[in-house]
């Protein structure tokens, strides 16, 4: 089972890579316009409340139909690969859990595997709900490949039982909510970054990376998606990291908060994302500034996922594996 799980991870990475290549293909061939048209079924709602995505994004010179069809097809194949990758990713988690005979969140490797799965599942949900943002798939898949690769290379840990400190239902609640919250935060960085790029492009910037903004959805759509994902993840993360975590820590270590490096970085992420929500709620703060704060939040999340485990030593027993 453990072997199978590892193979599934490798297969998932390959599928993400394939999706990435197809997204890139569509990106290279395509124009926004037909993506918008392909999307012209009623926009369904995401986790929170949904915003209809304007599909009236018009391009000035439509590409020749053959090219358009090819791009369209490539895009659909990309989504197919992406969905396949999500299933393989899920399979890897399940087999890992079966092999270990517990929830697959016992150490840093499994934690990253789970978090990236959530990110990926939310992403595919967003794409299916709003095909208009499909062009971001290239970047989402890239982020996933990098993170999964890093997890396998840096953090791989053989299957083992939970140390007794992790054997508690509060642990399950804590880790699952933190994983879901972090996963959504992570994927929220993709529209955030693309919003900044698109916005720069709209303002006339033509250097790399702004050139990437040419074919992504409208800035306002990206910005709103960014906000939605973050506004959904924030309470989850608050519950997981700042309520369930301390409850478990109190039972396990006797203190609900002890400024262990993992706790410090969860606190930092939380404060930064609170800053993002504030900035976004303040009319005098530009949306670009607010979105930069969300990206800083992303960096702190990465620090929490990888950095803290690698650089610091704390009480979080799963942090020391790897």
């Amino acid at each position: 089972m453990a072997e199978l799980s590892n193979q599934l991870v490798a297969a998932a990475v390959l599928a993400y890579l394939a999706a990435m290549i197809c997204y890139a293909g569509e990106y290279a061939f395509g124009k926004r316009s037909h993506i918008g048209k392909a999307a012209s079924r009623p926009a369904r709602q995401l986790v929170g409340a949904g915003a209809p995505v304007p599909d009236d994004i018009v391009s000035d010179d439509p590409p020749p139909p053959a090219r358009r069809d090819r791009a369209e097809l490539t895009g659909r194949i990309a989504v197919g690969f992406n969905a396949l990758a999500v299933l393989l990713h899920l399979g890897a988690l399940v087999t890992r859990g079966v092999a270990a005979d517990r929830m697959p969140w016992g150490n840093m490797y499994e934690y990253i595997l789970s978090t990236t799965f959530v990110a990926s599942a939310v992403w595919i949900g967003v794409v299916l709900a709003r095909p208009a943002v499909r062009h971001l798939g290239l970047f989402a898949a890239l982020a996933l490949v990098v993170m999964l690769g890093a997890a396998s290379l840096i953090a791989y840990t053989p299957v083992g039982p939970l140390v007794p400190a992790l054997n508690s239902y509060w642990f399950i609640i804590h880790v699952s909510t933190v994983i879901v919250g972090s996963g959504i935060f992570l994927i929220g960085a993709v529209p955030a970054a693309m919003f900044l790029i698109r916005n720069g492009y709209d303002e006339g910037k033509r250097r790399f990376p702004y050139t990437l903004g040419k074919r992504v959805p409208e800035a306002a759509v990206l910005e709103r998606l960014t906000f939605r994902l973050h506004a959904f993840a924030f309470p989850l993360f608050t519950f997981g990291a700042l309520i369930a975590g301390p409850i478990w820590a109190e039972a396990s270590w006797g203190r609900y908060w002890g400024w262990d490096p993992k706790e410090v970085w969860a606190f930092i992420s939380w404060i930064v994302y609170a800053g993002y929500l504030h900035a976004r709620a303040t009319p005098s703060v530009k949306r670009t500034v607010a979105t930069w704060i969300a990206l800083i939040g992303f960096v702190t999340m990465l620090m929490n996922l990888f950095g803290v485990n690698l650089f610091f030593e704390g009480l979080h027993s799963y942090a020391n594996a790897g």
Partner: protein, 535 residues
């Protein structure tokens, strides 16, 4: 998310008179402090200020690491110490940031709270003259009801959808229905921010009125422990806690169970103790990692465990002493290190004087399972094949002078000066349970067995439930605030211009007061039900 609505700009300050200048300055600073921009900057500063605490060892987390840091960076460490680098979260600069943030928070929340209470008490404002300017507006439709009846029907529908609703009759005989929903958003926002204050108070009081201590508790009735400070290995009382405030209880470890995976990974730990509280009868209680022993005014947490060898030393005059000494685990397989010190031995019965050069110390390792390859570390954490490896020292243990040293190692200073001599050579002497080791002077050491010990952390935090309640309420408020939407709708019922008496023309307008993409759909649905209700 309040985009549509912003607090009105403060009126321009009057021309400064000298007496007023200070007042104006104060007022301006206050306004500055309670602005959202300041809140943002303070939030950001707080995040940045928290970083060093994860980089440098923190005394409150692990004091030993701080000592190690001093040895590793002798130049840098004193500087860091001055800057509060080892106690970041108790440092004045960290405190000043969060205190400012909370002052700003109060300054922000109180006016909003007042505004909100006011908004909840006054009626929803009347409809604007023209609906065409509103983000949402409907086409006109006609109804055979009278304007008053139509307005009544619509108001009832809106109330049924939990809108706050107000019907007004206008001078021209028309009726308007004003309705607003989503007050919970602001309520939630206020609840969230006020809860943050509750959390801060809970945390702060916990720091002042809480206490904690650590203790290694060796199994056996003779090794009990009572909750008084001198019996702790280390402890820390909050500034407002007096030793007399500590609750009165005693515990004895009667049993310790540990089970392991074949790889040596621990599966379960469980400690069974006999407890007496406030002088009552002894009870038997079990507790484990994640499931602490809750006593009146304290909880006892199981952090770790280990083995304490039982050693009997019989000195050259035939007098024997038995000690049970906990050896501290140094790895996951319970390779343990420790010492047994016998300062009051080899006392000549003729003179009755203690000879400081004849004290005995034994230092070494305990391996619960000797590795087949003969390495000096344990191969498994349970006692499958236990052995003790000891080196014997004779001389002055250095216990009578100076500061109390560690009870887990011999005084290296005494060894260095030769006051304490190794008398058995470099190879430690191996002992199995039951073995007797006869030393050069005819004295003997017997290894009688081991007892388990539990590492306990005993704590009390009187306000942790306040912090928890604050956090839970805060989360509730946060969800209401983030996921709620405030919006207004108006309906106008005009007496029909047509000849048909009683005919009414109806029209509706809507205003989302926050960024709410679902509003057009909702508005459409409201208009549709209104149309259906007013045939």
């Amino acid at each position: 998310m309040t985009i549509v609505e912003e607090r009105p700009a403060p009126p321009a300050a009057p021309p400064p008179r000298p007496s007023r200048r200070i007042w104006a300055l104060l007022r301006n600073s206050w306004r500055q402090l309670t602005s959202m921009r300041t809140a943002l900057v303070l939030l950001f500063l707080l995040a940045v200020a928290a970083i060093p605490g994860s980089i440098f060892p923190q005394r409150a987390v692990n004091a030993e690491k701080v000592t190690q840091y001093y040895t590793a960076h002798p130049k840098l460490a004193p500087w860091l110490e001055k800057l509060g680098g080892f106690e970041v979260y108790a440092s004045p600069w960290f405190a000043s940031i969060y205190l400012l943030l909370f002052v700003s928070l109060i300054g922000c929340v109180v006016p909003r709270l007042i505004d909100h209470v006011r908004a909840l008490r006054i009626a929803v404002p009347d409809a604007p003259k023209r609906f065409g300017r509103l983000p949402q507006h409907s086409d006109e439709w006609s109804s055979s009801l009278t304007p008053a009846a139509a307005a009544g029907v619509i108001a009832k529908q809106l109330r049924g959808r939990r809108f706050r609703t107000k019907v007004r009759e206008q001078e021209d005989g028309s009726f308007t229905v004003s309705a607003e929903k989503g007050y919970l958003k602001e309520t939630g926002n206020l609840l969230f921010h006020i809860s943050m204050l509750a959390v801060l108070i809970g945390v702060g009081f916990g720091h002042w009125y809480g206490w904690h201590g650590n203790r290694i508790l060796v199994g056996g009735a003779d090794q009990g422990f009572c909750n008084v400070l001198p019996q702790y290995d280390d402890s820390s009382l909050g500034p407002r806690v007096d030793t007399a405030d500590l609750p009165n209880f005693c515990i004895k470890l009667t049993k310790f169970d540990a089970t392991y995976q074949t790889t040596g990974q621990p599966k379960t730990f469980s400690a069974t103790v006999s407890v007496t509280q406030d002088g009552g009868a002894a009870e038997t209680r079990s507790f484990t990692v994640n499931d602490p022993l809750r006593l009146h005014g304290a909880s006892v947490h199981l952090l770790g465990h280990g083995y304490a060898p039982i050693l009997r030393y019989t000195d050259r005059y035939g007098v024997s002493q038995t000690k049970v000494v906990p050896f501290l685990p140094v790895d996951a397989m319970q390779t343990s290190e420790g010492v047994a010190q016998f300062p009051d031995v080899n006392i000549d019965p003729k003179t009755g004087k203690r000879d400081a050069t004849l004290q005995m110390g034994f230092e070494g390792r305990y391996l619960p399972t000797v590795a087949k390859d003969g390495s000096a570390t344990s191969a498994f954490p349970a006692e499958n094949d236990p052995a003790l490896y000891l080196t014997a020292y004779r001389g002055d243990l250095g216990l009578d002078v100076g500061t109390p040293g560690s009870v887990y190692s011999l005084d290296q200073g005494q060894i260095a000066t030769g006051e304490l001599k190794n008398i058995t050579g470099t190879r430690p002497h191996p002992m199995r349970v039951g073995d007797t080791w006869t030393l050069d002077d005819g004295s003997k050491l017997e290894f009688l067995g081991t007892r388990p010990f539990a590492t306990l952390s005993i704590r009390h935090d009187p306000t942790q439930s306040l912090a928890l309640a604050g956090a839970v309420l805060g989360l509730l408020g946060l969800m209401l605030s983030l996921w709620g939407h405030r919006r207004r709708v108006w309906f106008r019922a005009l007496p029909g211009r047509s000849a048909v008496s009683g005919g009414t023309l109806l029209v509706a307008g809507g205003l989302p007061r926050t960024d709410y993409p679902g509003f057009p759909d909702e508005f459409e649905a409201l208009v549709k039900t209104a149309e259906e209700g007013t045939p």
